[in-house]
């Protein structure tokens, strides 16, 4: 699968564990139904929560009558905002970013509801069936308030969602560099459009689920939950409930996908914790799909006006953008509502050399489900907009889309390159990825085939998208601006116990990425043991002193770095211990495949024997060594700036010229994700990301009606792509090491979703290039194509058959 230099070629000779297609450690349990997802966990005496949720988009709560619900069979209690407020401090996602207004969110709605699906009351019963029965009996008296559904209208502040904020404008920011106005007026060509990318939702197949258990004896609370961020939640809940960390533990067991949706603090998490403490019984909430589609954080939903200026040779000279982000009802904790829309303007210049840039963003509250992090964060939208502009310009200048990109992508000798929004790209294969993608796709031949297909009346289109992203972000740059949390470090502790078993503990939380395998590969290689000798502990706030979790393409860079540092440190300890036990010089001690030996001799012991000698057989090493040595090491890694990941995607689509159905026929990704730990897993991440991006381009859309009701409350209506809509995806990797991170890794979990909407949009536009229409709105559904095409024909009648 890998092209370019083989893994490790750029570095020292390696045993080759890193870079190998190691089969996943997770698989046997997951394949046999022996995984342990939160809902699989049984706690004696557990009771179940069902929420009474708002069926209004915006209304004042005049009263809640729970009398009937309290009398329903099996009900232990019905709880509302006041019950939670009595034990939990209010939650605000704060930021020191100027022009940002934090919105308070109450775990159960207080005074007002601001979106359909907002929890209003929590009903606790013996099982979920009974809890749902009773939740339906909770009568909420609402005084309707005007809905705020259109983000541009919301900016006028005629109706306020959060009265205490005084405005619906929750965040605003502007980036500027160079003389943009001059660039625009002096340019040979300016292309511009208004782009819209509709609201989508992550839709992990496992719905969110939380189980809180309170040990009244120890006064300790444990939350098991489907979360990407156990450490972050532990810290937040410690504040909310004023508990010290050693009496509060958050565990993410097996988690069924996240994609950002499980990376924030949710009302339901606070509620199950509060109720477990109040009731003294384990309290579980297992969200259902309707709750997921109305009350899990959503994504995108931006309007972008953008224009790109070029000289006569197709070189970009200026870029300007105005972004309005519809952030929904609340500024989500801890990321804030600024996360997604600000990233759009931050990343809009993309991997291109553009001297002048001005990007303005406004994040607007509306009476919809809150938005939050979603795979790619901002970059799927910025890439869609920029790559459409690039293709529009290429067409006007009669340049091939590949050629215009080659002229403008930052070249190797220009790194580090500072983009107009202030992002600094470190060395990455921007140009290489374009070349590799074109090669693998067979670009010239495909263009010839496309021309022939057109001759036969078929509508085939080819779309290219290039992008760059920051991954593995360290402490110097926050993953979201101004938040009072540290996302820039990760910690690892590796220990060899008295049986010789190696346990490496992390705060990250693998939920499909295979980190139990890839981190074990790194530890095994650095330590000199076999992969199967290493057990990875993760997803547990008790595993390390501080961690945030797995999100933002950070885990291999940050946790991998921490694994490397701690494994190296532990190896030194092992060598010292072995020099006592084997009575040899430290410089002669070797360790490979878990066997410690003395170079040039046949003296060797297994790690198990070494551990027994160290811990149990008291005469094997002197007292001083026992006290100075420790078969355990911890380290924190901070990549400081982080690194750059780049890719070019190429999609080929065919459009049925009569039904307007779009089929993606071919898909190639060429990616520079640094040193590859496990090519099998990396390819899998690319495939999955692209599939979500194709969904965003063609199928997936959260739709509200004029009164703020969600019309896509089921998987019938929220259309997630199936196997039949996704093509085979070819991934090729540049596989060079990042100069900026320990181990040379770059993050790559999100990239597929970043490139695919743009590549598919460009391919659709290319297929329809004979028509005078603009593809400026995603998803580009058959209905939208029908309307676009009919409108260009200037009548309300039937579109002519064929293009």
């Amino acid at each position: 699968m890998s092209a370019g230099a083989p893994a490790g070629a750029a570095g020292t000779a390696r045993p080759g564990i890193v870079g190998a297609r190691v089969q996943r450690r997770e698989d046997p349990r997951l394949l046999t139904g022996r995984g342990s997802y939160t809902d699989d966990r049984k706690a004696a005496g557990a009771v179940h929560v069902a929420f009474c949720r708002s069926d209004r988009a915006h209304a004042r709560i005049a009263g809640i009558d729970a009398a009937q619900a309290r009398q329903a069979p099996g009900v232990l209690g019905v709880f509302t905002a006041e019950d939670i407020a009595a034990v939990a401090r209010p939650i605000r996602a704060t930021s020191n970013m100027p022009d940002y207004r934090a919105t308070e969110f109450a775990p159960l709605a207080r005074g007002k509801v601001r979106h359909v699906g907002e929890p209003v009351a929590a009903v606790v019963a013996g099982d979920r069936y009974l809890a749902e029965d009773a939740a339906a009996l909770v009568a909420v008296d609402y005084d309707p308030l005007p809905d705020i559904t259109d983000p541009e209208e919301a900016l006028a502040d005629r109706v306020l969602l959060h009265e205490d904020a005084g405005t619906n404008l929750i965040a605003a920011r502007e980036f500027a560099r160079g003389d943009v106005d001059g660039a625009m007026t002096g340019a040979a060509l300016v292309v511009e459009d208004r782009f819209r990318i509709r609201r989508k939702t992550p839709a992990a197949i496992e719905n969110r689920c939380y189980l809180a258990e309170y040990d009244a004896g120890r006064q300790a609370l444990t939350l098991h939950g489907s979360t990407q961020v156990p450490g972050l939640l532990r810290d937040a809940l410690a504040e909310i409930f004023d508990l010290p960390g050693h009496r509060l533990r958050v565990v993410a067991p097996d988690v069924g996908g996240g994609f950002g949706a499980k990376a924030s603090l949710y009302p339901e998490e606070v509620v199950v914790c509060a109720l477990a403490m109040r009731l003294g019984r384990p309290v579980k909430w297992t969200g259902d799909r309707m709750e997921d589609l109305t009350a899990t954080s959503q994504a995108f939903d931006e309007i972008v006006r953008a224009k790109l200026a070029l000289d006569a040779d197709g070189r970009m000279v200026g870029l300007e953008a105005d972004v309005i982000g519809d952030i929904g009802a609340y500024s989500i904790y801890p990321w804030t509502a600024s996360l997604e829309p600000v990233q759009v303007v931050s990343f809009l210049p993309g991997p291109y050399r553009i001297a002048a840039y001005r990007g303005r963003v406004r994040a607007v509250a509306t009476s919809k489900t809150p938005t939050g992090p979603y795979r790619g964060v901002g970059r799927p939208v910025s890439t869609f907009v920029m790559e459409r502009l690039v293709d529009m310009a290429a067409r006007r200048l009669a340049l091939d889309p590949a050629e215009i990109r080659a002229r403008n992508l930052v070249r190797d000798e220009e790194f580090p390159y500072k983009a107009g929004s202030g992002i600094v790209w470190d060395r990455a294969g921007f140009q290489d990825c374009l070349r590799m993608a074109l090669d693998r796709f067979g670009y010239a031949e495909r263009r010839a085939e496309q021309a022939a297909a057109r001759g036969d009346g078929r509508s085939v289109g080819i779309g290219i998208a290039s992008y760059a992203e920051l991954t593995g972000i360290g402490s110097r740059i926050s993953a979201a601006p101004g938040m009072p949390i540290n996302t820039g470090t990760e910690r690892a502790t590796i220990e060899i116990d008295s049986t010789g078993a190696v346990t490496a503990a992390f705060g990250i939380a693998s939920h499909g990425q295979g980190l139990e395998t890839t981190l074990a590969q790194i530890v095994a290689e650095e330590l000199g043991v076999r992969v199967e000798d290493v057990d990875i502990v993760h997803g547990d706030s008790a595993a390390v002193a501080h961690s945030t979790g797995t999100y933002a393409s950070r885990s291999i860079v940050l946790a991998g770095g921490a694994a490397t540092l701690s494994a190296r440190s532990l190896r030194e300890q092992v060598v010292k211990a072995a020099s006592h036990i084997l009575e040899a010089a430290e410089t002669d001690i070797e360790m490979r495949d878990g066997v410690v030996s003395v170079a040039g001799t046949d003296a060797s012991i297994t790690l198990r024997e070494l551990a027994r000698a160290f811990y149990t057989e008291m005469r094997r090493i002197p007292k001083e060594a026992r006290e100075s040595l420790d078969l355990s090491a911890s380290a924190t890694y901070d990549p400081f700036f982080g690194t750059t990941t780049a890719a070019t995607h190429i999609a080929e689509v065919e459009i049925d010229p009569q039904t307007f159905g779009v089929a993606v026929r071919r898909y190639v990704v060429a990616e520079d994700c640094g040193r590859v730990v496990n090519p099998m897993i990396v390819d899998g991440q690319v495939h999955g990301g692209v599939a979500q991006g194709i969904g965003a381009a063609l199928l997936e859309e959260v739709v509200h009606d004029d009164s703020g009701q969600i019309l896509t409350g089921s998987f019938v209506d929220y259309v997630v792509p199936s196997a039949a809509e996704i093509p085979d995806i070819e991934a090729v990797h540049l596989d060079t090491e990042s100069p900026s991170t320990l181990g040379g890794y770059r993050g790559m979990g999100e990239g597929g979703t970043i490139g695919a909407p743009a590549a598919v949009a460009n391919a659709v536009a290319d297929a329809l290039s004979g028509l005078d229409i603009q593809i400026n709105e995603l998803p580009v559904t058959p209905e939208r194509l029908f309307r676009l095409i009919r409108n260009t024909e200037g009548n309300e009648g039937e579109p002519r058959h064929g293009f």
Binding site: L31, G35, G256, R289, G514, D683, A691, V716, S722, A723
Partner: protein
């Protein structure tokens, strides 16, 4: 609500239980029998995560009342291979990296077993169409298709 007695065989083991008529087979398997390998993703028959074999045919356990399964034989993912002795289809999934978070996997396996029993699966298009009632959000499907393709080829003369 009155409970009804049912007796059914799950993975070769006979169970007799009293159930409320509204109890979904998915909840019966997970909560009453502790067979949590069968997952619940939508409870309206679209995602396929809860697919089991019911009297040999794939079925959505979320669209089946346990009470309707009186006398039936159910096979769940726990009835395939075990850790250390995976079923060939599970082996193929592992070899091809056909799972990531693993949540859709049990339903995907049970569906694939039924497809392998009933369809030629001679082309990727046919495999993809057959799997289209099982949503996966992680893999992008290509590796699942590859795993099923290999399992189809391995059927040899048993091919339908």
């Amino acid at each position: 609500m009155e409970r009804t007695s049912i007796a059914l065989t799950v993975n070769g083991v006979r169970h007799e239980r009293k159930v409320e008529p509204r109890r979904l087979l998915s909840d019966f398997l997970r909560e009453d029998l502790g067979l949590t390998g069968t997952h619940v993703g939508c409870e309206h028959g679209v995602c396929g995560a809860c697919t089991v074999l019911l009297d040999g045919d794939s079925a959505r356990s979320c669209l089946t009342f346990a009470v309707q399964c009186d006398g039936a034989s159910v096979r769940t993912v726990e009835g395939l291979g075990e850790i250390g002795a995976l079923h060939p289809l599970q082996e193929s999934f592992r070899r091809h990296h056909a799972l990531q978070c693993g949540f859709c996997t049990p339903g995907m396996l049970m569906t694939a077993l039924d497809l392998l029993a009933k369809y030629p699966l001679a082309t990727d298009e046919e495999i993809r169409a057959g799997l289209s009632g099982n949503l996966c959000r992680c893999t992008g499907y290509a590796n699942i298709v590859a795993a099923v393709r290999e399992a189809a080829a391995a059927r040899g003369d048993d091919r339908p």
